[in-house]
């Protein structure tokens, strides 16, 4: 069957299981991740700037993680206040003193950006734990390429099929001898499609915790015939707290007992490193431009959205006075939850919010609302309509740090809404980077 329309591509993706799982009221619901066929196009010169800025940022974040878990000089030097580090839920004292293989902490970084109406890019969030989403533009491109091969040969679009090679190289670079595996909690995970797709494309084995075990601080995989083989790198798609019931949440059934022991002994690489959450905490985000200067001695190429920390008295005052036009984010939430626009709150709710910020200033950041650009999407009637869209760029660190010349463009399906998260019903587009 020739694929000719966006509708058919969506239908095929449904068949391939390109889905996104959600838990609503304790029930698991799988829904399609709606794909829009009009790509986001990034010019070559624009991508060059993004590339430099993202490499710089991720390198600084890796330096920060290394520092935090081996003495925290940036804290001693008072660049980052210590409470921001140690109160962060993402900080794991269990990782103190561990140097991961090759010194890489964030192997796969998902950096969320938006482009303001004046064309300037701003970083909204760093995701250094388990950023998901690369598989969606990959498979969408694959199917679109079948539908319209000419679109890619005549428009000078950079081929994005190298993501799996980049990921494979990253795994090989940190591998401590043995297999590369992708550890999934199973099919009820929101991103299970991605786990299986990336395993297939990188040649890594897709495994569940029950197939892995640790003996004498070495990680092994046991297959269905009972044959055991050493594992050298684990791209784990389960979060830190469930990773090892001997170290973290004691009743985790999706973790591997003693895997932290194998990791601490340097016998296996865990991708991304446990404890990375301290660096992508919304509170720490404020300090990332300072990290760039502190560790690299460079001026940050890409800017944060203007952010205020109520923790500092001046910022608290500013936040309270300007709350109507700011966006307030709860630093302990993710996935678009805990984000409140001052402009959408009633007088009563604003007062409640202010009281909460005064009571727990460390818990919130406030930001200027970036009026980011709309991109055209095709509505149900085939008419192009504008919707807010962001970009998740994927930055991989192995021997060097490289930006994948593509990315996940997410858009809101609600007119004027800034919430683009897939967990909140958003859709996605392919991202074309032009080769000239």
């Amino acid at each position: 069957m020739p694929i000719t329309t966006a509708y058919e591509i969506n239908k095929l993706m449904a068949r391939y299981g390109v889905k996104f799982g959600l838990y609503k009221n304790g029930e698991f619901i799988e829904q399609l991740f709606p794909y829009d066929a009009i790509p986001r196009v990034i010019s070559n010169s624009e991508f060059e700037l993004l590339d430099k800025g993202l490499v710089q940022r991720v390198n600084a974040l890796n330096c920060f993680l290394k520092d935090i878990y081996s003495g925290a000089k940036i804290v001693t030097d008072k660049v980052v206040p210590e409470e921001f580090v140690y109160i962060s839920k993402g900080y794991l004292q269990e990782c103190a003193g561990i140097v991961p293989p090759e010194g890489v902490y964030s192997h796969i970084s998902g950096i969320d950006l938006v482009q303001a109406k004046d064309g300037k890019w701003y970083i909204l969030e760093d995701n250094l734990r388990i950023p998901s989403g690369a598989s969606y533009p990959l498979i969408a491109r694959e199917l679109s390429r079948i539908a319209d091969p000419e679109a890619y040969s005549t428009n000078n679009v950079v081929d994005n099929r190298n993501y799996s090679d980049m990921l494979h190289e990253t795994m090989d670079f940190v591998n401590r001898g043995g297999l590369n595996v992708i550890l999934t909690p199973g099919r009820y995970n929101a991103a299970y499609f991605e786990h299986s797709y990336l395993a297939e494309r990188t040649g890594a084995l897709l495994v569940k915790a029950s197939e892995l075990f640790v003996d004498n601080a070495v990680l092994y995989m046991k297959d269905y015939l009972g044959v055991k083989a050493r594992v050298g790198a684990v791209y784990r798609r389960i979060s830190d707290e469930y990773l090892d019931p001997m170290t973290f949440v004691a009743d985790s059934l999706i973790g591997v007992p003693h895997i932290m022991d194998a990791y601490r002994a340097g016998n296996v690489a865990i991708i991304n490193a446990p404890g990375n959450g301290v660096a992508d905490d919304k509170g720490i985000y404020y300090f990332v431009p300072k990290m760039v200067k502190y560790y690299l001695g460079e001026e940050p190429i890409l800017q944060n959205a203007p952010t205020y920390l109520p923790y500092y008295e001046n910022d608290l005052k500013f936040t309270l006075e300007n709350i109507e036009r700011l966006v307030i984010k709860d630093v302990s939430e993710a996935g678009g939850y805990g984000v409140v626009f001052g402009s959408e709150l009633s007088k009563e709710k604003l007062d409640e919010m202010k009281a909460l910020i005064i009571k727990e200033p460390r818990r919130f950041i406030s930001q200027e609302v970036i009026d980011f650009i709309d991109l055209d999407i095709m509505d149900e009637n085939g008419v192009a309509v504008p919707r807010k869209a962001d970009l998740r760029a994927f930055v991989l660190t192995g021997k060097t740090t490289r930006v994948w010349a593509s990315g996940l463009t997410r858009f809101s399906r609600v007119v004027g809404s800034f919430i683009v998260n897939s967990s909140q019903g958003g859709g996605f587009k392919d991202t074309w980077v032009l080769s000239r």
């Binding site: 140690y86 004292q93 269990e94 004498n216 601080a217 170290t247 002994a265």
Partner: protein, 261 residues
Amino acid sequence: MKTVRFQYQTELTFSSPASKHRFLLRVLPQSDSRQQIKNLVWHIDPLPADTLWQTVDGFGNNALAGYISVPHSHFCFGIEGTAEVLNEPYITTSPPPRVLLYPTELTHAHSALVDFYNEINNSAPVKVLDRIQYFSHAVHARMRYERGSTTSSTSAAEAFDAGMGVCQDYAQILLVILRLDKILCRYVAGLASDYGETHAWVEAWTGTRYCATDPTRDKLIDEGYIAISRGRDFTDCSIERGVFKGLCRGTQTVSLNMAIS
């Protein structure tokens, strides 16, 4: 200095056999400036046939890790040895990590604990060493010892609200108070003479060394105490952790003998 002979054992009995049992036992005391551990031997029954190794956890505690695949209805482990122990509550180490100043899930300060701190802080002495003892005494005076009134997952706040608990609760409440007072402090799990089971107390940083105080017994520790593991709270120090397959309930029997000469 006194010589302390110690013998400790925990036996878990399962109502029906457990299998595929992976465990971590933080039962190996280490020498420090206050205690010199000698002739330490450990035992595990059933002894894992093929998988057993010694490891160090994220807090520097020594531990035994292992795997028993076969079904077993009891699991027993223990240590014995001697220790040369100084009759003083001080431990000299390198300065503690700053994280020891911050709350954990079990040592979170809720408003009643903050109020309690403010109340006792009014008449607290000035010197840090005096403050540590003063706060330890205040916790002791406020709480009632009641075996079985709390569990291993009871937080300091919950135990404080109930007004009763065991050594773990006393220690965790004191940690909250000390941390509110900006004193670096850690939880200690170990053995204490005449206690009958594993005990818990607190080491608080004076600026140059740790001072160990026992809020349950309202005293600074003496030669009757042997520290086994240390961390931010009970969770970091739990003697035994394990996962196994089986539909069973467990009962636990602990025996402890200590002789000081």
